[in-house]
């Protein structure tokens, strides 16, 4: 059981997708009675449900003090011996929160997409493939395997945005695809360089490379080879995060994608970028990680400020939340740069804060996108203020909503929670992790971090302003037939809200998982400060 649980987590969605195809073929050939389209939704729900259960079991059995090599869950099999590629998957304190997050959000996203009516089979089978890819990325300990899973997600994502998205979906889908592929091909070059230049035999094994990669001694075009590898990997991961200036694909993709896909994009896919830094760039190239931590901090602060300023300028709720993701991912980068802090406490706070911020941002942004989706489904628009060139000149420049709090009290309650979590109010999970990221950053780069704290202020501006314009003030009679949240919506939001509150007042369980793995990375990098 122990050794197969990780493989099950990856391949259960694949089985789910296959069984959907089988059901569809059988019912087309009328071997089994003609099925309602809902059968696919139930298959997807059951599949992701089992996956979530397995993830919880994994969490129960997980011992954070063990390294991946000692862990009973690790599986190491030969895949392509001639190329020395292994099927090598494992779990440690870095991947554990991400696995839980991915499993939880996948399950909830099936619920969020319950209203999908167009090509149901396609939507849910692609979604499950995406799910399998995400799980694979967070478990792979072989770079080649990691790369394959990383890329496997692109194709389903392309179709999910392009077929089920908003008005500009075609452009958004191809832009997302090209941007991410551009990044990942550079990652591919970095990967091959590691494979060929690392001493001790050609290998994609990430654990093996931890000891070998720092010994790479080669140069190309007058640059150190490790430096080039660092940059190649950096482009790959930075586009995914997305780090300024590579972030322009994000607002478009997030806004055009259907709600559930926005949740997955912001909640899980963005984390893969920072996960890649922590899993690959930092342990394998600690010297470069140390010397480029100023760049990381700088980019992090730019992300925080730039994302927040952009969010302030938005009049579309979903676009505002998309830019808030750019800002929030900046905290992760700032926290990661804290690894070069002179005092161990600062470095630990920064690194732990980064991983916790990855998890917490996942839950908070999922809440935000879901709630906006609930509103959009009923109102069919999500303007905070109608744009000046709106097609209906009567509405141009007017408030989109107004006074919804009185009409939708439960919805209002949750959106207050989500907005406050987003702006980092104490006692909510966002605060803890953001504070830890700042502590980490402050230990190494004081001035930058001080500028970065301005982000909190900007975050407050756009969240509070949006709240004010949409939920307070005089009630807009046009929306008198809006209904409050349904039971399904509550079922989606409550687990997320619970986690936000729990890790806001008691972050210990999360910290406990993350801490040991982060200490190991810090020990690898510290000698190079």
């Amino acid at each position: 059981m122990n050794s197969s649980i990780l493989s099950l987590l990856i391949f259960i969605p694949v089985f789910g997708a296959l069984s959907m195809l089988i059901v569809s073929v059988l019912s087309n050939k009328e071997i089994i009675p003609k099925q309602n389209k809902d059968i696919y939704k139930y298959i997807a729900l059951i599949t992701t449900g089992i996956q979530l259960l397995l993830a919880i079991i994994l969490y129960m059995k997980f011992d954070p003090t063990l390294s991946v090599i000692e862990s009973p869950f690790t599986v190491q099999l030969d895949w392509i011996p001639s190329f020395n590629i292994q099927y090598y998957i494992g779990v440690d304190g870095l991947s554990m929160p991400m696995i839980i997050l991915a499993a939880l959000l996948s399950f909830l996203c099936i619920l969020i997409s319950w209203n999908v009516e167009k090509h149901v089979l396609g939507y849910f089978s692609l979604f499950l493939l995406l799910d399998a890819g995400m799980m694979g990325v967070f478990m792979s300990l072989d770079f080649f395997l990691f790369y394959v899973f990383w890329e496997v997600m692109l194709l389903p994502m392309y179709f999910l945005i392009g077929m089920w998205g908003g008005p500009q979906r075609h452009y958004a889908a191809i832009k997302f695809f090209l941007y991410t592929l551009f990044g990942s091909v550079f990652m591919l070059l970095g990967m091959l360089a590691l494979y060929f230049y690392a001493p001790g035999g050609n290998s994609f094994n990430l654990i093996h490379l931890i000891t070998q990669a720092p010994q790479i001694d080669a140069s190309l075009w007058g640059f150190d080879m490790r430096l080039l590898i660092w940059f190649a990997l950096f482009i790959g991961f930075a586009i995914k995060v997305p780090v300024f200036p590579f972030h322009t694909w994000l607002p478009l993709a997030h806004v055009e994608a259907p709600t559930a896909i926005s949740v997955i994009l912001a909640g899980v896919l963005l984390k893969m970028g920072t996960y890649g830094f922590l899993r690959i760039s930092y342990p394998l190239l600690p010297e470069e990680a140390a010397s480029f931590s100023f760049m990381m901090a700088l980019l992090g602060v730019i992300n925080i400020i730039w994302g927040a300023l952009n969010a302030i300028a938005q009049i579309d709720l979903k676009k505002m939340i998309a830019y808030s993701s750019v800002s929030h991912m900046g905290y992760v980068l700032l926290g990661m740069s804290g690894i070069v802090g002179g005092e161990a406490v600062g470095a630990e706070a920064g690194m732990n804060g980064a991983v916790m911020q990855m998890f917490n941002h996942g839950t908070i942004t999922a809440m935000l996108f879901t709630l906006v989706g609930v509103l959009y489904d009923q109102a069919h628009h999500r303007w905070i203020v109608y744009p000046m060139d709106y097609k209906d000149p009567e509405l141009a420049g007017k408030l989109g909503f107004g006074g919804l709090a009185s009409k939708m009290p439960i919805f209002n309650g949750f959106i207050v929670l989500a907005f406050f979590a987003g702006l980092g109010l104490p006692a909510l999970s966002g605060f803890i992790s953001e504070a830890m990221c700042f502590i980490g950053g402050f230990g190494s780069f004081r001035v930058l971090t001080m500028i970065g704290t301005l982000g909190i202020l900007f975050n407050a501006i756009y969240f509070l302003r949006a709240y004010q314009k949409v939920f307070q003030g005089p009630f807009n009679e046009k929306y008198s037939d809006l209904k409050d949240m349904s039971m399904r919506d509550l079922g989606i939001i409550i687990p997320l809200a619970f986690l936000t509150l729990l890790f806001g007042v008691y972050p210990q369980p999360l910290l406990e998982i993350v801490r040991h793995s982060m200490t190991k990375i810090i020990l690898l990098v510290q000698p190079y400060i």
Partner: protein, 483 residues
């Protein structure tokens, strides 16, 4: 390595003789109206028996016909690729209507002659034989490109092909005669020994350039690619599919054999890998960039095939056994992904009369199974994991790292991969994202359907035989004595 006399050579030459017999049969049957419907059957049986003979023939390093040809495992591998593509094209052509049925028999016969020519091409060991075999491939190619007599585009394609082809082969012949003048011999083994000691590298360099014109035209390498888009667009679509794979495989085989026999020991002096590296970068980039704006599907696939030649040339720019293996590996999967994409285009052109990408709108929803496989082929052409196209590209890039030579070429190659994604997914976009409510479902004939499915499936199920294939290729290359 021995020179076998003409009589002794015949036992190693049975597959080709079978092919000759089939060609004669097909043309005779074509002439007699009663037997005309059976030309398809005859060519299939001929190809299958030729395949059986090929599998029975053992490889050796002996030179056949007094040193004209060689039947080593390298040539046998390429013969298999050529046989496979010809066979599947003939199967697909049966129900195809781009070649009118009155000339189907001639068309099969011409395909078989080209196949015979390519068999000679991949095993040629003599300068004259090289020239003869290339002409033997080219002349019937001109004919089948223009086989739709009443179609102006097809005539245009044929004419352009003739003019360009004869010009290129003329220049190549000049290059070959330079080599003959330098060495006094036609056997490339003997030429090689003379070339090493020859003092003036200018003559050799001229010969290399001129010969590259001929080979480059055959594999449509930039800057000798200008015929490709026009001919591909004008020729009947089955011919285009055939031309995009088989002659390229043969062209690469002869390119590898020629350069690795003649110019391997003086690489340092002649520096031809540098030349190839630049040409590879140009070929990839020109192919991909010009494909971006194409709306005609045949033209788009033509430019895409140019860019794939560029990827293979990337490997050719590194002199090593591994790079030959990676070209052979790439060619293997290029055959499957390109042919399956073309077969889908054949289906679309036959049933929906679709010439441009717009006419593919909405097909993904209407014909889900075939469209799924088309997406698989396109993903593989674009080199997305986990398809074979990706693994093949990794093998290509691997050479650059192993040799530490042209790493800049690696950067060019991967940026080209990103560019290529755009135009391949233009097709996917039309298939899935665009709606066309007027589209009716039209059945695909079973031969074509299964060709698409089986060929396209190779792009994902190759994991089963990937290690085995690499092992075989390594064995072939090690035992051919190329390096």
């Amino acid at each position: 390595m021995e020179f076998l006399s003409n009589i002794n050579s015949i036992t190693s030459y049975l597959p080709e003789l079978m092919m000759v017999l089939t060609i004669l049969c097909v043309f005779i049957m074509e002439a007699i109206p009663k037997y005309r419907p059976y030309t398809f059957l005859a060519s299939c049986i001929g190809l299958i028996s030729s395949g059986i003979l090929l599998s029975l023939s053992s490889s050796s390093t002996d030179l056949l016909f007094e040193g004209m040809l060689i039947n080593d495992s390298f040539s046998i591998y390429f013969k298999w690729l050529i046989l496979l593509s010809t066979f599947s094209i003939i199967l697909v052509s049966k129900d195809d209507n781009s070649v009118v049925s009155e000339v189907k028999g001639e068309y099969y016969g011409m395909l078989l002659i080209i196949t015979l020519g390519m068999f000679a091409m991949v095993s040629a060991k003599n300068l004259l034989m090289i020239y003869l075999s290339i002409e033997m491939v080219s002349i019937p190619s001109y004919i089948i490109a223009g086989i739709s007599k009443n179609n102006k585009e097809s005539n245009e394609a044929s004419l352009k092909y003739v003019i360009y082809g004869s010009f290129a082969s003329g220049i190549m012949l000049f290059g070959l005669s330079l080599l003959y003048g330098v060495s006094g011999s036609l056997d490339i083994g003997l030429v090689a020994s003379k070339v090493i000691s020859f003092e003036s590298s200018a003559a050799i360099y001229m010969a290399i350039l001129f010969i590259l014109v001929g080979f480059g035209y055959k594999i449509s390498m930039v800057p000798f690619h200008y015929w490709t888009p026009d001919v591909y667009q004008g020729a009947p679509i089955t011919v285009t599919a055939f031309l995009s794979v088989a002659p390229k495989a043969a062209g690469f085989a002869i390119l590898i054999r020629f350069f690795y026999t003649l110019f391997i020991d003086n690489v340092e002096i002649l520096q031809w890998p540098q030349l190839i590296a630049v040409l590879a970068a140009l070929t990839m980039t020109v192919g991909n960039v010009l494909a971006l704006d194409q709306s005609n599907i045949k033209r788009l696939l033509a430019y895409s095939s140019i860019s794939h030649v560029g990827y293979m040339l990337v490997a050719f720019s590194v002199v090593s056994l591994d790079s030959i293996v990676s070209i052979m590996f790439y060619m293997f999967f290029y055959l499957f992904m390109n042919l399956s994409a073309f077969y889908m285009a054949i289906y679309m052109s036959n049933k929906y009369n679709a010439k441009t990408i717009d006419q593919w709108n909405g097909i993904g929803i209407k014909v889900p199974v075939l469209s799924f496989f088309m997406v698989l082929s396109l993903a593989s052409l674009a080199g997305l994991p986990p398809t074979s196209g990706f693994v093949a590209k990794v093998y290509i890039l691997r050479n650059l790292f192993a040799d530490n030579g042209f790493l800049w070429l690696g950067v060019v190659a991967i940026i080209n991969t990103v560019i290529s994604l755009y135009y391949y997914f233009k097709i996917v976009k039309a298939m899935y994202f665009m709606n066309n409510d007027e589209l009716e479902l039209k059945e695909c004939c079973p031969l074509l359907f299964w060709s698409i499915v089986i060929f396209s499936l190779q792009n994902i199920i190759f994991y089963i035989y990937w290690p085995k294939l690499i092992e075989t290729l390594n064995f072939i290359v090690l035992n051919t004595g190329l390096v």
